[in-house]
């Protein structure tokens, strides 16, 4: 028998361990304390893995305002009628009961990095040795002329899961016969690169069944988008003549909206619309900015452990981070959370720290049983998280392959939500 465990321990692991900080035990208090802000794909995962793997050695607090978390990933499938809204809701009971995480349902409203405390909207303060921020996205003020959060009832963004998703669906279903659905697509970088285009597909799917003479227009500030060839092939095959995508070359970035009049003006041409989905430019969730770890719209991080450039004891995961090549996705956040949990646990308890590996796959549904995917693996370099290898579904694939891809995406949803919450 080859004793590779010994070889491994003697070389790579030891070398890796020596690179990590020596065990930092909490000064003046008992167990080391980690506060995680945001209970989505990054935050729920990092909290769970820290608590599970440290076996009680680390005191983990998770701050998340909602008691039931509705995933943004798969919300388009709700729009398309493939999922019920309840399929997308998840609660935190298992994280508290099985893993001993202190789940606090409140908003984090301030961070004092000098005294290492987080202030909650309810007024209490949480001290930390390490803090992990996974706040997702907020929208850039004034990004789309005429639109603000005050107008999100008339023109929903539906880019955070839950009530906005339900609102948009209701508006699509209420469109008059032959009406117009408009989308204002976001500029890069933004959460879930194929998301707007999967959404177009799902809206088209619903309209084809209920309102087949309806039209969809997309004003896009970009000249190309994720899985473009796959989506455009799918739109031509399933929804011929329904989708009009206006890229930046044709003025798609020169757009304003009037939520009172329900009009969209693209490159000077005003159109009356019946439902309008405005997805503005995005930035890191507000708490990252309040914590002072952002530079511009996002929080720059070190690839090896997701610690911020601004503060070695503050980590940022997922959409809010500026890390390099990974897309902003739930899968990415979950992947980054595992690297981060391993590094934070190593720093606080002296446990072995293994080399960072990252991966991502994004599945999209174009029509019933017509699923496509794109994915890549990544590694940590000194400058960034760098892409290693990748793949994308091919155009013209047979229907069995596409059906299998969709079934796989359902398996992934069951898998990642079990990984986050179960």
């Amino acid at each position: 028998m080859k004793l590779n465990r010994r070889i491994f321990m003697g070389t790579s692991a030891a070398a890796m361990a020596s690179l990590s900080s020596p065990a930092v035990l909490a000064d003046g208090h008992g167990k080391p304390r980690v506060v995680v802000i945001g209970g989505g794909a990054g935050g729920a995962t990092v909290a769970k893995y820290l608590a599970k793997d440290s076996k009680g050695e680390i005191d983990v607090t998770l701050v998340e305002p909602t008691r039931t978390y509705f995933t943004c990933f798969f919300s388009n499938l709700y729009l398309g009628g493939f999922k019920d809204i309840d399929d997308l809701g998840h609660t935190y009971g298992t994280l508290a009961a099985k893993y001993g995480i202190n789940v606090v349902h409140d908003w984090a409203v301030d961070v004092d990095r000098d005294s290492k405390t987080v202030t909650l909207a309810g007024g209490s303060k949480l001290p930390y040795d390490k803090m992990v921020l996974s706040p997702g996205i907020d929208f850039v003020d004034g990004a789309v002329e005429g639109w603000s959060v005050a107008a999100q009832n008339a023109m929903p963004h539906a880019y955070k899961g839950g009530s906005q998703t339900e609102l948009l669906k209701a508006q699509v279903m209420a469109m008059p016969e032959g009406g117009t659905f408009a989308m204002v697509a976001p500029p890069n970088p933004y959460r879930c690169p194929p998301g707007p285009y999967e959404r177009i597909s799902m809206v088209a799917h619903v309209l084809k069944a209920n309102n087949p003479t309806a039209k969809i227009i997309v004003a896009d500030p970009k000249d190309k988008f994720s899985k473009q060839a796959l989506f455009q092939e799918g739109w031509a095959n399933h929804y011929a003549g329904m989708v009009d995508w206006i890229g930046s070359d044709f003025g798609g970035g020169n757009v304003s909206v009037d939520p009172n009049a329900m009009t969209v003006t693209i490159d000077g041409e005003e159109t009356k619309v019946d439902a309008c989905n405005v997805i503005p430019a995005m930035k890191a969730g507000r708490i990252a900015e309040l914590a002072g770890v952002t530079d511009g719209n996002w929080a720059p991080v070190n690839a090896a452990d997701m610690s911020t450039k601004a503060d070695a004891d503050v980590y940022v995961l997922g959409d809010a981070s500026q890390q390099g090549d990974m897309p902003k996705s739930g899968f990415s956040a979950n992947s980054q959370a595992k690297v981060c949990a391993n590094a934070v646990r190593g720093a606080l308890t002296g446990s072995k720290v293994f080399p960072a590996k990252f991966s991502n796959t994004c599945w999209s549904l174009i029509d019933t049983d017509d699923g496509v995917k794109v994915g890549a693996t990544y590694e940590a370099t000194d400058e960034k998280i760098a892409k290693v290898d990748g793949f994308i579904s091919a155009t013209g694939e047979d229907s069995a392959t596409r059906k299998a891809t969709y079934e796989e995406s359902e398996g992934w949803y069951a898998g990642i939500t079990a990984d986050m919450f179960g």
Binding site: K2, R5, N334, G375, A376, V388, S393, G415
Partner: protein, 234 residues
């Protein structure tokens, strides 16, 4: 090898009219060809052993989840305790859609929709049950471990602790409790099968792009570590 045909009449009495069931006379030779879909996990014949799935000698009449020495999913064990026994009728339903019969089975198989194909497959399986044929006369037909992997790679002893860390990446899609819903279960596989499968992805012999990518950057020791970890995950 040819045996008594698997007769429609043996089944017909217990079947509900109009249901999609195997009704034709099964052809064991055709069934042998169909068994290629099964033999990645199941062996059958004289030298058959338990692999990813239990061996299928004597499957007819066996109580579900009751073959000694094989680690079944909890749901399969429960089905057996509840009285599920493998007969022509129950096997037909299981092969048509495994998860419809045993909801959280670890058997990652989409099922065979065509009733004739199921009848043929069962005719083949039947040859390895006590009646009508004798097991010792059966030829060894299924070899789940067909591969040309370097024996030194197979001999690597994986570090389960490292495997546990590496497994985090797998668990974004594959479930730790062995549930298989659109993505296969990878828990409790014999280490050799796990290693062979991962190297087949790494060398792009197996076709799945996500798995080719994931396996592609795992080295021999990392694959061995994952095999060592998932072997005992329950």
């Amino acid at each position: 090898m040819r045996s008594a045909p698997f007769l429609k009449s043996a089944l017909a009495a217990s079947f509900v009219a109009g249901a999609s069931l195997a009704e034709e006379i099964g052809d064991a030779d055709a069934g042998e060809a169909l068994f290629s879909q099964c033999k990645g996990c199941h062996q059958i014949g004289a030298s058959a052993e338990d692999r990813i799935g239990p061996h299928l000698n004597g499957i007819f009449g066996r109580r579900a989840g009751a073959h000694e020495g094989f680690a079944y999913s909890k749901s399969m064990q429960r089905a057996g305790v509840d009285g599920l026994t493998w007969t022509a009728e129950t096997l037909d339903a299981y092969i048509e859609n495994p998860r419809a019969l045993v909801s959280k089975t670890r058997m990652s198989f989409r099922g065979i929709k065509n009733p004739d194909d199921r009848a043929n497959l069962m005719a083949y399986l039947r040859d390895f049950s006590d009646n009508p044929s004798n097991l010792p006369e059966a030829e060894p037909t299924a070899r789940a471990t067909d591969h040309d992997l370097d024996p030194e790679i197979l001999a690597l002893q994986g570090d389960p602790e490292y495997g546990e860390y590496l497994s985090n990446e797998c668990l974004t899609c594959h479930q730790a409790d062995g549930s298989a819903e659109g993505i296969p279960s990878i828990t409790q596989w014999p280490e050799e099968d796990f290693v062979v499968a991962m190297h087949a992805y790494k060398r792009k012999l197996r076709p799945h792009p996500v798995m080719q990518m994931m396996a592609g950057r795992l080295n021999d020791e990392e694959i061995a570590a994952l095999a060592a970890y998932f072997k005992d995950l329950d």
